[in-house]
């Protein structure tokens, strides 16, 4: 649905879009009334618990559950045999949900119990005997690619390589993007820099652990209450893994205490359903924090080589990158997104990126905000920073000189429509932060970032109530304040007040299929569907007015909340408000509702520029972020506060990723830090107030010009922080996290090189 012909977002005066009313779920969340995943309960409910492999890699010779089954209070035990095999699209999902012949990582589920209490369930887990044959393991991406590394899957033959390898390896596939000939480009350069980079796996760090309540009756009908970013996905996958009809499983999404991509797949849900089916009673399953770290989906760790050439006057002549991502025990790391996005900010004649998707003995990665892009931006933007310094050019100037714009052929293929990178770079350069003086041991870093954004399948219903209020049902869980934005959009279209619209996230049986809340798609595509549903409703409202007045339906228009005759020729009638028409709906044709079913296309890509000041304690290597500014193109900010919230949240998570967050594995392949004590996300006092600038370059693919904003904000921070820390420390940091021991070692090594 293209940009409205009638709306020029630059000049159009919206009544409500762009204002900042309170979110409808706010009071519930601050008073504790909101119900999250673990808040669901049902009569006769059992407690489910999962037995997990303590080994990084082990063959499962046998599982003996007989002792556990005899424990009083144990009502069901499930293993892999309790799931339906055979759906090729869900093969790895099932392997991850419950191991079969091998445990592939520390934390891999091998069995589960449902019992009358948590204490009994815990005891039962201890009584299950698993006969493991421990196998050699590998957790590092570069190690996993070496010949001779322990192979996880005997049937993994690298895809997209000609000729196909004869032997199995841990490399699932290769991908390649780009155009031109980098060798020619590098010859034209005055300066070429090639560097290698590494980043560790990080976790989304959502506060709410995975939780669900499953209930399957003896008639085979099931219900599931779950904390997820996509309850339709949960329904479809669970139905398949349990061999149920999709129509027999009704899934309700709870409020969500953070997801950031990590709740876009199933982990415990099929297990809870299988337990409930077997026990004949409802089963609640809640992960502990330790389970979340060991067995949900962190992001990939990465190893990358980047090479970029520039002329003396700052023109990039060529860029190449080889990137290697491990995505845990199964194929599917976001390496393609990484390879596609690496140089997406720049207008390049010669560019090539190659990616390898690698498996290791770690939990299967899940999406994490702009999956794949932040690590690669760290590598590319670090090299650009170094190039700018070496040729003596301002780093924003260097980026402006090469910035992608409308018509640029992107490094991953398509030509850009209207985009806002140049506007972001210029806004960053104008920002007072860019010229503010730095203190001792401080450095400033800037970096740009890109994300695709997504549209996808969406279905909404908008019901006009008898009193003139409106009930809006959407199918995309609200992970960032989207209900507020949807209410604003509906009210804008209908010409009524924000408070007169109430939005809910409907369950899977109440509304048609909706894709997951991911890919920064909700405000774009659900918003687009709400616009269409509202226009569908106003057409019906006009028809009712026409009927009342006895004139033709096309002689009535909807304006600012009223049905009016289209012109004086149509007749002279007092305008009817939405409330007037709603009141008499029963006698003019029955209920009035608007609907929209769409596969939304036209999601506009978005760009951001971040800048930050870091201070380094040269004696301890400790890094402190002193100032941080996010500039990002939103296309059109529907609710600016929640757009700013997305900017700040992405920056905060990126700062954590850059400085302290990491999965630490011991030699035994076990995760050493499965808790918030040693997995160090930033606490509030670690961060400065994060300043934001909303740039609005309308997306030509949306009626109001909206672009997704949820993910781009985590793309630049790794690089921006690394550039700032490198400037402050006087030495280039090329590995994340930049934890104190690493920074101190780099400073000391540089000092001993100098002396």
């Amino acid at each position: 649905m293209p940009l409205d012909a009638t709306i020029d977002p630059a000049t159009h005066k919206f009544a409500l879009v762009g204002t900042r009313p309170l979110r409808p779920d706010g009071i519930d969340k601050v008073t504790g009334r909101a119900r999250f995943g673990a808040d669901a309960s049902a009569p006769g409910m059992l407690v489910g618990k999962i037995l997990r492999s303590p080994h990084a890699h082990a063959r499962i010779r046998a599982i003996d559950t007989s002792k556990a089954a005899k424990l009083p209070g144990v009502k069901a035990i499930v293993t892999r045999a309790d799931f339906k095999e055979g759906d090729p699209g869900l093969r790895d999902v099932l392997h991850n949900v419950m191991a079969r012949d091998k445990a592939l990582y520390d934390g891999h589920a091998v069995a589960a119990v449902a019992a009358t209490s948590a204490a009994v369930a815990r005891k039962a887990l201890k009584l299950i005997r698993v006969d493991y044959e421990i196998l050699p393991h590998v957790t590092d991406v570069d190690e996993a690619m070496k010949p001779g590394a322990p192979v996880l899957h005997a049937d993994m033959i690298t895809a997209n390589v000609e000729p196909a390898p004869k032997k199995a390896s841990n490399i699932a596939s290769r991908c390649e993007f780009g155009h031109g000939d980098p060798e020619i480009g590098f010859k034209q350069a005055d300066l070429v820099i090639a560097r290698s980079f590494k980043t560790e796996a990080t976790h989304q760090g959502y506060i709410e652990p995975h939780a669900c309540l499953a209930s399957v009756g003896s008639d085979g009908q099931g219900e599931l209450w779950v904390c997820t970013q996509g309850h339709y996905m949960v329904r479809n996958q669970c139905a398949s893994l349990l061999g149920m009809d999709v129509s027999k499983l009704r899934v309700t999404a709870s409020e969500i205490g953070g997801g950031f991509g990590g709740k876009t797949t199933v982990f415990i849900e099929p297990v809870a359903l299988a337990l409930s089916r077997k026990a004949g009673r409802p089963v609640k399953l809640v992960m502990s924090r330790e389970e979340v770290f060991r067995a949900s989906g962190p992001t990939s760790s990465a190893s990358m080589d980047v090479k970029i050439g520039v002329t003396k006057d700052g023109r990039i002549t060529a860029g190449t990158a080889e990137i290697r991502f491990q995505g845990g025990a199964f194929a599917g790391s976001p390496v393609e997104f990484g390879a596609m996005s690496a140089f997406a900010c720049y207008d390049l004649e010669h560019v090539k990126t190659v990616g390898y998707d690698v498996v290791t003995n770690r939990p299967k990665q899940a999406a994490y905000r702009a999956p794949g892009a932040p690590m690669v931006a760290f590598a590319v933007e670090s090299v650009l920073d170094e190039l700018a310094k070496k040729i003596g050019m301002d780093p924003i100037e260097l980026r402006l000189k090469n910035a992608a714009k409308e018509g640029t052929r992107s490094s991953y293929g398509p030509k850009y429509k209207r985009i806002g990178l140049i506007e972001c770079l210029e806004a960053a350069r104008r920002h007072p932060h860019y010229k503010a003086p730095l203190g001792p041991n401080q450095g400033r870093g800037i970096a740009a970032g890109f994300w695709f954004n997504f549209g996808g399948q969406t279905c909404v219903s908008l019901n006009v109530n008898v009193d003139g209020t409106v009930a809006l049902a959407v199918g995309t869980p609200d992970i960032g304040g989207s209900r507020a934005s949807m209410c604003l959009i509906a009210a804008e279209e209908l010409g009524i007040g924000y408070e007169q619209v109430r939005a809910i996230v409907a369950d899977t049986s109440s509304l048609g299929y909706n894709d997951i809340s991911e890919g920064s798609r909700v405000t774009f595509s659900t918003g687009l569907a709400v616009i269409q549903a509202a226009r569908d409703a106003t057409a019906k409202l006009c028809a009712r007015a026409a009927k009342t007045w006895g004139i033709a339906p096309d002689a009535v228009v909807w304006e600012k909340g009223y049905a009016k005759p289209a012109s004086p020729n149509a007749g002279s009638f007092a305008p009817l408000s939405l409330a007037d028409i709603a009141k008499t709906a029963g006698s003019t044709g029955g209920p009035i509702a608007g609907h929209c079913e769409v596969n939304a296309e036209g999601a506009g890509v978005s760009f951001a520029v971040h800048m930050t000041d870091a201070e380094v304690d040269r004696e301890t290597g400790r890094v402190e972020i002193k100032r941080y500014t996010v500039v990002q193109d939103a296309g059109k900010a529907i609710h600016p506060s929640y757009v700013e919230g997305q900017y700040q949240g992405g920056a905060a998570q990126g700062i954590g990723w850059a400085i302290n967050e990491e999965y630490v594995y011991g030699r035994d392949g076990r995760l050493q830090n499965p808790g918030f004590l040693d997995y160090r996300i930033p606490v509030a006092s670690d961060l400065p107030m994060i300043d934001t600038v909303i740039v609005e370059t309308p997306n030509p693919g949306h009626p109001y010009g909206v672009r997704g904003v949820g993910e781009t904000s985590i793309v630049p921070p790794l690089a921006a922080v690394a550039n700032a820390v490198s400037a402050a420390a006087g030495v280039r940091l090329s590995e994340l996290p930049m934890a104190p021991p690493r920074v101190l070692a780099a400073i000391d090594a540089a000092a001993s090189r100098r002396s």
């Binding site: 815990r122 330790e290 004696e619 301890t620 290597g621 400790r622 400085i659 302290n660 630490v664 050493q672 830090n673 004590l677 040693d678 160090r680 930033p682 606490v683 006092s685 670690d686 934890a739 104190p740 021991p741 101190l744 070692a745 000391d748």
Partner: protein, 286 residues
């Protein structure tokens, strides 16, 4: 699991000395309850000491202080005289956790949990504090540095309880300080901790000093060589560098998820030097 909340130390000792398998004292519970909840220990008996009169109070005693074993961090922070006399001990205890943790956590628990990274312990060791211990055979006193022997292990015998921690009388022109290194700004475990206490004469020459380090060995260590570097000096730059070198030399850390050996050794010296500067300023009345 049996829970008891006796009102006298005698009764607490009797319970702890009884036959029941694993018995544990419960002070603030900020270590103990976490360990139970995460399945690391399963005590058969828990003896809550918070209802024992005398364990909840801070008393001045021959110029020093007797701090009951169940006194919380927040209560320490609110005690003006204690804060004036031993600012380093109070700042160390107040570093533990957050406001919520502060209203429960005790120095006794911090000491008896026997973590090498316990924050209040290096400050107590530097201060020359002693632990008053009651047990089936009566009372005894033990220097704080001799309570923990290894991670999670103390020298307390079956039935023994720390009843109080005693801080000595403060000489004039004295100051103490505690610093810890954490990657974040709060809610973290010390990667290295350093406590320094020192006394100056009228001419500003250091006459007495104690230096203790945390998280660099299997328990908190007293470092006499580091103290020697200060004694007899005006705590000038040269003395501080000697102190740092001695502190680093005393470390016998491990590589772990929180830091490397090399890092801990270097940072121990840096922190000891920085803590000594603060202690000096306090001794000078600045």
């Amino acid at each position: 699991m049996r829970y008891e909340a006796p009102t006298t130390a005698k009764e607490a000792v009797r319970l702890m000395a009884g036959k029941a398998g694993m018995a544990r004292v419960l002070a603030g519970g900020t270590d103990l309850l976490v360990q139970i909840r995460t399945d690391r220990i399963a005590p058969d008996l828990i003896v809550d000491i918070k209802r024992i009169a005398g364990m909840r109070s801070i008393m001045t005693k021959s110029g020093g202080f007797r701090i009951g074993a169940a006194v919380s961090g927040a209560e320490l922070g609110e005690h003006k005289a204690l804060r004036r006399a031993w600012p380093g001990v109070v700042e160390a205890a107040n570093l533990i956790g957050s406001i919520q943790i502060q209203s429960r956590a005790t120095m006794g628990g911090n000491l008896c949990n026997a973590s090498p990274a316990a924050d209040s312990v290096p400050a107590l060791v530097a201060a020359g504090a002693t632990a008053v211990i009651v047990g089936p055979r009566g009372r005894r006193s033990l220097p704080v540095e001799d309570v923990a022997v290894a991670p999670g292990r103390t020298s307390l015998k079956k039935g023994e309880i720390v009843e109080a921690i005693v801080l000595p009388k403060r000489a004039p022109r004295s100051g103490d300080a505690y610093l810890r290194f954490i990657p974040r700004s709060e809610m973290d475990i010390a990667v290295v901790g350093a406590g320094v206490s020192l006394t100056l004469d009228r001419n500003g020459v250091c006459t007495a000093a104690r230096v203790a380090l945390g998280a660099v060995a299997e328990r908190v260590i007293l470092v006499p060589d580091a103290a020697k570097a200060l004694i007899g000096s005006t705590v000038d730059q040269a003395a501080l560098e000697r102190l740092a070198a001695a502190a680093s030399a005393a470390c016998r850390p491990i590589d772990d998820k929180r830091g490397t050996k090399k890092f801990r050794i270097k940072v121990a010296g840096v922190l000891a030097r920085r803590a000594a500067r603060t202690a000096l300023a306090r001794a000078q009345g600045k």
